[in-house]
């Protein structure tokens, strides 16, 4: 065997241990903040910076290796399969919250309202509570609130995200056809759409908190609403950062029509985030 098809095994990986330390500092700092420990936020910040440093370093190293031609089809295949299963794990993470939403809407709230086996519960503990959606529960936790409508910002956001999926695919076509302008322009559009989405989402939250009295503490409606859209928004943010990196790398000319796994992985991720949004739009905002 010639070393041309040798499987690339890197040596002396220093980034993982830095990542572990960063992760621990970040989580410890944040935990201590939750416990109101004074100046814990400094630890959180340091942890965060270490993590950022790790990511720059780690990805930088991988990019260098990639650019120097260390990866061949077998490494590429590993990255692909790895990315697919990573996305699957993310799907399952969201599944937990969608599952919670499903249970709350179809079981716990109806039971509290006296449906099925909940008749006694309703009669003796929550008399007078009627099941409906949205709800902040029989204890009216968080007080009077208004529902977040589906056809204002959320509908616009749906359009934005869907079009960002299109622009991204268009950019990808550009990449495959070796049309650099199309690639870069498509990516810029996608990033902008992503950022606008996050911005509008922030606007919507502020509207929820200030005008509708809809907060995380607004019973299960507020809980599921902010938890699901919040984690989604976080993923969009991460995706937008990834896209930005892809943009920079495209400008630097890292990608060839044959070899651009990082771009594809980012695109998969972005589409996954897109699909999650559709679920959100239907089950959190609309129905």
């Amino acid at each position: 065997m010639s070393s041309e098809n040798a499987y690339y095994v890197p040596h002396d990986a220093k980034w993982p241990i830095i990542g572990s330390i960063g992760l621990m500092l970040f989580f410890c700092g944040f935990s201590a903040q939750l416990n109101n420990t004074p100046s814990a936020s400094i630890v959180t910040m340091i942890g965060f910076l270490v993590l950022v440093y790790m990511m720059f370093g780690w990805f930088g190293e991988v990019i260098d290796e990639s650019e120097s031609g260390a990866y061949k089809s077998s490494e590429d295949a590993s990255f692909r399969v790895g990315m697919i299963w990573f996305i699957f794990s993310e799907v399952m993470f969201f599944a937990a919250f969608f599952g919670a939403l499903f249970y709350i809407r179809n079981f716990s709230v109806p039971w509290l309202g006296g449906d099925g086996s909940g008749a006694i519960t309703n009669e003796y503990i929550w008399n007078g509570f009627e099941a409906m959606w949205p709800t902040n529960g029989p204890g009216e936790v968080g007080g009077q609130y208004e529902k977040m409508g589906a056809w204002g910002l959320p509908a616009i956001n749906t359009l934005l995200l869907l079009s960002s999926g299109v622009t991204l695919t268009w950019a990808h076509w550009g990449l495959i056809a070796n049309k650099r302008k199309q690639l870069i322009f498509g990516l810029i559009l996608t990033v902008v759409l992503g950022i606008v989405f996050v911005g509008l989402q922030a606007l919507e939250y502020s509207h929820g908190y200030h005008d509708l009295n809809l907060t995380m503490g607004t019973g299960v409606y507020g809980s599921t609403f902010y938890m699901l859209t919040g984690f989604h928004g976080f993923h969009v943010t991460v995706g937008a950062i990834m896209l930005t990196v892809m943009l920079v790398r495209s400008i630097k000319g890292h990608f060839t029509p044959e070899n651009h796994f990082a771009f594809e992985a980012t695109a998969w991720y972005w589409h996954f985030v897109d699909v999650v949004w559709l679920g959100l739009f239907v089950f959190v905002y609309w129905l």
């Binding site: 509290l112 003796y124 503990i125």
Partner: protein
Amino acid sequence: MNKLKQLCAGGAALTFMSSIARADYGLNLPVGVTETSRQVYDLHMLILWVCVVIGVIVFGAMIYSMIYHRKSRGAVASQFHESMTAELVWTVIPFIILIVMAIPATTVLIDMHDSSEPDLQIKVTGYQWKWRYEYIGEDVDFFSTLDAASNEARRVGSDIDPATVDNYLLNVDKPLVIPVGKKVGFLLTASDVIHSWWVPDFGWKKDAIPGFINEAWVKVDEPGVYRGQCAELCGRDHGFMPIVVEVKSEADYATWLAEQKAGSTAEKTAVIEEIDPLELKNIGKKVYTANCVACHLQKGEGVAGIYPAITGSAIVTGDINQHVDLVMNGKPGTAMAAFKDQLSDTELAAIITYQRNSLGNKVGDAMQPIDIAALR
């Protein structure tokens, strides 16, 4: 060292004593005293025997093979390694056995779920760490806590031998009383965390979940005293919230119920008297031991981070009204319960007076039952 000695002595004594007490020694599920519990017992025995028979066959084959197919006996390995028939056989036969077992299990389960048309209903509420029993439609409502003798003996370093305590950890100050031969419906819930109400002789346990009510029922055949425990981890004193059910004949039950009602009416109409602060402190000490020690500990030192100390506490040594408010209404999201349902006016006044003037505190003021009554 001392503890070790104690342990050895205790161990030796125990071996001896338990052989005396072997009569009430359980190895198996109790048959119990209800139709349901007998059905459950039968199911248990059925499945147990099925397992034993399969076990004898499987382990028998294995042991036979281990004896006869060993190299030291000159066994030569055959090379067979597949048989569709065998695989089919040991897929289908267990499947059939399972179906045979599922049928009676289903019947019993359906039966247990039928809590319709009870003769009387009792709402059971789990608290950290006691049970509350409300007889629905009757004016009877009381708490049931670990009895004082067990409570005393179970402290670390109490030096009391549990074997000398009557029904150690399985005795309460005031048992639940139900009539024999009647379908008693239970409405189970909890006020703080999840508990589980379990009397083995009745054949089931059911979780008591805050904010929800679970239903269950019993129809007991024989009068007697039946004991059980909380079966769902509910915090520090999870091991110390027993259940005692006294099953009485219908007549005895009626008498008991009448007494209880009379008692609660008397309590309501009684004139609330002024009590001497010193006397209050004495009552308070008892109330503290029964209700507060579990978390705030004997000397009021608490446990840092979860159970604040009483000694020197800002609330206890501060404004008395805030102190009263905290004790009566609790602190949501923590283990601090709202004691206004659990304690009488006198007990509340006593506990507050006690906390303010003992356990290292010397505030000097006192609370009177009448003032508590006014706050209700």
